[in-house]
């Protein structure tokens, strides 16, 4: 196969490319330039598309004896990932920009260009598996190493996208093995630190970064009964489940910490309350996609057992899901018998059956039977 290896400059993508080469594929390395200011230097372990990353990716390709190019997707990234991130926060939701990048950049803009230029697949260093059913349809599964598993951030991929994905790290028992393999192959990135946080916020200060881009105004912080407790500098800077930075002078009546329960950008209000009220029992998801051929219940609208995960490194929770079809838009309704904590609108819920990713939806509403937030005015 002709394979395009997306090279971030990190150890995972370098080893993935090496394995693709070793498997006999015709591999070309491509580094994505996503920043509007390419060629800047890396600070700490953060940042992306820096000069070092580009050089590291080039060196890895040189070592592997494969061609290397830098392709510019900075315009699309700015619109589909960065602006989307700002818009979502502005609307009081909590987005996952890495998922959006996978959905729109790596496995859409890049994949489309790759296919047009004659490639059969895009290879990345993600820890996830693509398996085929008896009819050859792709299925997305968790990686062998659950600790490193990244199937969550790939949960947004569709059948069309999965058909052209290659994840050579799928069966790797651990990250340590990837580093050892990189060292054995003479790849200089073997000991490069993992990258964390959001690549386009180099100093990691998401709140400060948002404040420069969103027009925030002071507003009220109220409790679960609507009583005013204090003021905030802008509702959009808060996230559901957040405990720190509320700056409420008075302690709660029970002396226990308070958490953000809900953000209402329209009223510029932040609702806080005890930990117990963070638990939700029902999620309603929109912007749905299925990772491969949907299971029959999705078509029939019957309820089905599944596991739901709402963040990249969160634990999956038992759930019952059902497609609710209404005029114009479908909603994925998920019941959580044991409840789930700290769920924010805007987050992606990925639906699993065993190791298989069925699909995903963006959480539009999270409901709690113990507390009806609509009563807070």
């Amino acid at each position: 196969m002709k394979v395009l290896a997306a090279m971030s400059g990190g150890v995972d993508s370098a080893v993935a490319a090496a394995r693709a080469v070793e498997a006999g594929h015709d591999v070309v390395g491509v580094h994505l330039a996503l920043s509007r200011m390419p060629g800047t230097l890396r600070t700490g372990s953060r940042g992306c598309c820096t000069l070092e990353d580009s050089n590291d990716a080039w060196r890895a390709c040189d070592k592997l004896g494969i061609p290397y190019y830098v392709w510019d997707f900075s315009d699309r990234f700015a619109e589909d990932v960065v602006q989307d991130f700002v818009d979502e926060y502005e609307a009081g939701r909590t987005p996952n920009p890495c998922m959006r990048c996978n959905e729109k950049i790596k496995f859409a803009a890049l994949l489309e260009k790759a296919l047009a230029l004659g490639f059969d697949a895009v290879c990345t260093g993600h820890y996830a598996k693509v398996l085929r059913d008896t009819e050859g349809n792709p299925e997305l599964h968790r990686a062998a190493d659950w600790a490193k598993d990244q199937s969550y951030v790939l949960g947004v991929l569709t059948r069309e996208q999965l058909d052209h994905c290659m994840f050579p790290l799928a069966e790797t028992p651990s990250k340590a093995e990837v580093r050892a393999e990189a060292a054995a192959r003479g790849l200089t990135v073997a000991n490069k630190p993992d990258s964390y946080d959001i690549c386009f916020i180099p100093d990691g200060d998401t709140r400060g970064w948002l404040a420069e881009r969103i027009d925030m105004k002071p507003g009220e912080i109220v409790d679960q009964d609507g009583n005013q407790l204090g003021e905030h500098g802008g509702a959009q800077a808060f996230t559901v489940g957040q405990r720190k930075g509320l700056r409420l002078g008075r302690p709660a009546a029970d002396g226990k910490p308070r958490f953000v329960l809900e953000i209402r950008p329209k009223d510029n209000k932040v609702i806080v309350g005890p930990e117990a009220l963070l638990s939700v029992d029902e999620l309603r998801g929109i912007r749905i996609s299925w990772a491969g051929v949907p299971i029959p219940e999705i078509i029939t609208g019957e309820e089905f057992d599944c596991m739901v995960q709402v963040r990249a490194h969160g634990d999956p929770v038992d759930a019952k899901a059902r497609m609710e079809r209404s005029e114009g838009s479908d909603v994925l309704v998920v019941q959580l018998p044991e409840g789930m904590r700290g769920v924010a609108p805007g987050q992606t819920m990925v639906v699993y059956q065993g190791t298989r990713v069925l699909g995903q939806a963006t959480i539009d509403k999270a409901r709690s039977t113990s507390w009806d937030s609509s009563k807070v005015s």
Binding site: H31, Y69, W71, D72, A108
Partner: protein
């Protein structure tokens, strides 16, 4: 996959070492001696440098004392622009404007920007026409209106992207009327078209060795004998105190050998390359009707365009897609300019020529050199139509992907 380019069409980026340069340098590499030393070994090294200086000056139509060895074109441009600016403003603090055109190489543009940001320089932008040639009338008007506050002017001899040869002599005449010194970046033009420093009217002229088959890492700045520059680099006082640093006798010998060898065949080579270029232009426009030649056509090699330069806009495709596809079949080309991280940027030259930023991304440059054959051009002609169709299908990076996802209305 192919890693080395069988068909090398990027001679404007660099070209291979001329055999005469290789042999001259091989001879010098084993020799010891600092050209500034006073003993026999030093005198021997100094003779090598002196002979090189004389030979290169002769090729450039300059006096040997006018040649300052530098590390290359970029350093020469920096020394000329900063040196002229500082000298002029020292004499007249009010003369802080620099006449410059948007088609200049980054070595000039970024130096001028630096002077603007740090030395209170102001820029007077001189327009170019749709072919990338300096608008002399506009330049004249700018000079007449602002001559009292103009420190210097700069105009490249030939553009590195679209190959347009500039009216250097006519421009220096306009500037001379008001005593304005003019610098020229002649890196692409030197030893490709006649560049006579003595008759150019220029104050300074920058050239580089590796563009003509000399080694990388050496170049020269020609400085007219009556022109005073303030040095950028200080030290032992080498090169008329304009450029301190131990002289590189080995590289100077290589530079001189290449310059002399290339100069000897300049007329015949210019005719051969322009004929090959014309053959390519006719066939590229026939095989890819959408392709648009940028820069002056110059069918008869009348000195309007660098003889080996081909530069096209291939509409609605990314230059880097085309470069990739050609590279895959062993053809080396260029998209024009890339930043240090290797990211292709829209061509500032095309933007200066009035094209929009989007189409300025859809360009490809092919530069022919001494070893380019008819067969090389035929290989390009065979590969290009299919590569263009594919690159066009791959689309423009700024456009939204046609792959449907959850966000764009995903359907099962």
């Amino acid at each position: 996959m192919m890693n080395n380019s069988a068909v090398y069409l990027d001679h404007a980026a660099t070209t291979d070492l001329n055999p005469a340069a290789l042999s001259a340098m091989t001879e010098q590499f084993s020799q010891t001696g600092n050209p500034s030393s006073l003993h026999g070994a030093g005198r021997r090294a100094n003779r090598v440098v002196d002979e090189a200086r004389t030979a290169i000056a002769k090729v450039a139509g300059a006096h040997p004392t006018e040649l300052i060895f530098t590390s290359g074109g970029t350093e020469s441009d920096n020394l000329a622009l900063k040196g002229l600016f500082w000298n002029r403003t020292e004499k007249n603090p009010l003369a802080r404007s620099i006449l410059v055109a948007g088609i200049e190489h980054h070595a000039v543009l970024d130096t001028v920007s630096w002077l603007e940001a740090h030395e209170d320089a102001t820029v007077l932008w001189m327009p170019v026409d749709a072919d990338g040639v300096l608008d002399l009338q506009a330049a004249k008007e700018l000079i007449e209106e602002h001559h009292e506050r103009i420190a210097l002017g700069t105009i490249m001899w030939a553009n590195n992207e679209v190959g347009a040869i500039q009216p250097v002599v006519a421009f220096t005449k306009l500037a001379a009327k008001y005593g304005i010194p003019v610098h020229s970046d002649a890196v692409q033009a030197f030893d490709s078209v006649p560049t006579n420093f003595a008759t150019s009217g220029l104050a300074t002229m920058a050239v580089s060795a590796h563009k003509i088959g000399g080694p990388v890492g050496i170049g020269a700045l020609f400085v007219r004998r009556d022109v005073v520059l303030m040095p950028v680099q200080h030290g032992g006082g080498h090169e008329r105190k304009l450029r301190s640093g131990t002289l590189n006798a080995v590289a100077a010998a290589g530079f001189a050998a290449a310059a002399t060898a290339v100069h000897g065949t300049l007329v015949a080579e210019s005719a051969r390359l322009s004929e090959l270029r014309e053959y390519a232009v006719q066939n590229i426009t026939r095989l890819v009707p959408d392709a648009v030649l940028n820069g002056p056509r110059d069918e008869d090699n009348a000195g309007l365009r660098l003889p080996g330069n081909l530069h096209f806009t291939f509409p609605e495709c990314e230059g880097d897609s085309l470069l990739f596809l050609l590279d895959m079949v062993g053809i080396a080309s260029s998209t024009g300019s890339a930043c240090t991280a290797g990211v292709p940027q829209p061509s500032h030259v095309l933007v200066a020529m009035g094209r929009d930023a989007r189409s300025a991304r859809s360009v490809q440059r092919f530069t022919l050199g001494h070893r380019t054959t008819h067969e090389d051009v035929d290989i390009l002609l065979e590969a290009l139509p299919d590569a263009y169709q594919r690159a066009k299908k791959a689309g423009m990076a700024a456009d939204e992907s046609s792959i449907h996802t959850a966000g764009t209305g995903f359907t099962r």
